[in-house]
């Protein structure tokens, strides 16, 4: 098991946002956690990256308890996040943003070939490589955030609602890239999404999160035909 979350309770001061969530991700899987706005998806993902402290429960990564580790240590272990809202570095150029992802890895990385791999996935970043990140559109910033996370060749990629605020055509493209990375490049991905249709379509397994509680889990195919899920998330 690559990642295992056991009975996670996460709170902002006194208000608990996640009430004991357990889930896991196997090596090579693409797993999604779907849920409505405010369900606690970002809270969970940030806690996995160490950006939000956990009140109770444990996070294990490759068998190691990482619950108390700061995020830069987790990043060093091969976990990367595409955070909610991209959070690229606005005053750095596109290329500099990508390069920050290689921090501490440049000696063991063939930088030119890694960059050309990134640019093949996201050609628009190649065109804009010398522009400041703040001049990119929302969709381009999302792609940049993915690129910044990917350039390090992570073992586990956490993705927070890349579809948010993107044009449908771009959502399709980004999800296609994620599917490609998972199927062809063996990248393990944990996705959190409001867009259940798009994420279930590319996932192996999925969890349904409702106001901080995981209410359903199973194969993505099975969930897609579950009447409750269809009603709540697929508009059918």
């Amino acid at each position: 098991m690559l990642l295992e979350a056991e009975n996670l309770r996460i709170a902002y001061r006194d208000i608990e946002a996640v009430h004991g969530a357990s889930f896991h991700v196997e090596e090579g899987e693409l797993v999604s956690i779907i849920g409505a706005n405010g369900a606690g998806k970002t809270t969970i993902l940030n806690a996995l990256m160490g950006m939000t402290p956990v009140k109770e429960g444990a996070v294990r990564y490759r068998g190691l308890d990482i619950t108390g580790l700061p995020s830069h240590k987790r990043a060093g272990m091969g976990i990367r996040i595409v955070p909610e809202g991209a959070r690229v570095f606005p005053q750095l150029t596109v290329l500099e943003n990508i390069m920050t992802g290689l921090y501490r890895l440049r000696k063991v990385t063939d930088v030119p070939s890694r960059l050309s791999w990134i640019y093949e996935l996201f050609p628009v970043l190649d065109e804009r490589s010398r522009q400041l990140a703040q001049t990119l559109s929302g969709g381009e910033q999302q792609q940049l955030a993915i690129a910044r996370a990917l350039v390090s060749k992570p073992r586990l990629l956490l993705v927070d609602e890349v579809s948010m605020g993107l044009m449908p055509i771009l959502v399709e493209k980004v999800f296609e890239v994620l599917r490609y990375l998972n199927r062809e490049e063996d990248l393990t991905i944990l996705l959190v999404e409001q867009n259940a249709l798009a994420s279930l379509a590319i996932s192996n397994r999925a969890y349904v999160l409702e106001t901080g509680v995981i209410t359903l889990e199973g194969e993505a195919q099975t969930l897609k035909s579950d009447p409750g899920v269809r009603k709540a998330y697929l508009g059918a």
Partner: protein, 294 residues
């Protein structure tokens, strides 16, 4: 050139070196510091004590000054790891007042009388007076700029920029906030130490009030006016803010007020500084370059 002009040039260079150091902390690592004069003072007092008590020359003490100031800077940079921007501003002001009081009231540091009789700098047996001193200070300023330039281009610099932009995002890609904030504090304060050492050997008499809070405000003004996070900004700022008070001598009593007004005006109309994004000097430079090309 008259000695007066050379003396102003020397102060521009010294202030430029100190402001370059502050720029690394404030402009590059994004940590506000309103106590930079404390490190300017620690450098000056270290050099002064080594010169008067141990008979060290400027050259012999300089490496020690750099190490001692940088080490204390590292130590006093620790609060930046725990507190947010507004509180860090207050903490650094506090550090400034404490350091100034220690110089002022601890007899070892000469007390209210300060330290006098600091030796002149000898360069291969030649005493450096105005012109020679300016050459030395200018050289050290160029070295400081080189140091800043290297810092900005290195991976350390890139990591610092990332931290300044978004600390959480930066740590999620493996950049340790602790490591880089401390590194920036250490480098920036060590540069203040170099300026302090020059100051001590030029003035040959120093006292605690030379390194008080108003000096910190002046240093920060230089960085903000010139352009935070730009290479040349602190030098432009040092040039302007060292020369202008000389021109407006009669307004000396209102210096602090003028700095405050200047800071507010800059923040309102030129938030990136004269050399920063949308800065007038940057635009001008861009236009001239355009002319030259066409």
């Amino acid at each position: 050139m008259s000695n007066y002009v050379l003396t102003i040039g020397i102060f521009v260079a010294i202030n430029g070196i100190v402001a370059c150091g502050l720029n690394i902390i404030v402009g590059y690592a994004g940590q506000i510091s309103l106590g930079h004069a404390a490190f300017f003072g620690i450098g000056a007092y270290t050099a002064a004590l080594l010169a008067t008590r141990a008979g060290f020359s400027f050259w012999l003490s300089l490496p020690l000054v750099i190490i001692i100031t940088g080490a204390i800077g590292l130590l006093l940079g620790l609060p930046s790891l725990r507190v947010r921007a507004d509180f860090l501003a207050i903490t650094t002001i506090g550090i400034n007042f404490i350091v100034e009081s220690v110089f002022m009231y601890v007899p070892f540091f000469g007390g209210a009388l300060g330290i006098g009789g600091i030796s002149r700098i000898l360069f291969f047996g030649i005493r450096l007076r105005e012109a020679g001193f300016l050459a030395l200070a200018g050289t050290l300023l160029v070295l400081s700029l080189g140091c800043t330039w290297w810092f900005a281009r290195s991976w350390t610099g890139l990591a610092c920029f990332a931290l300044r932009e978004d600390e959480i995002s930066a740590s999620s890609i493996g950049i340790s906030p602790v490591l880089f904030k401390l590194l920036a504090f250490m480098t920036g304060t060590a540069m203040a130490g170099v300026g302090g050492s020059l100051y001590a050997h030029y003035m040959r008499f120093i006292s605690a009030t030379d390194f008080g809070f108003p000096v910190s405000v002046m240093m920060l003004s230089m960085v903000v006016v010139g352009g935070m996070g730009t290479l040349w900004g602190p030098v432009i700022g040092a040039l302007l803010l060292t020369i202008l008070p000389e021109v407006f001598r009669p307004l000396t009593d209102y210096r602090m007020l003028l700095y405050a007004v200047l800071l507010l005006l800059m923040i309102r109309f030129q938030p990136g500084g004269l050399l920063g994004e949308r800065g007038v000097l940057k635009n001008l430079a861009g236009r001239i370059r355009g002319r030259l090309r066409s």
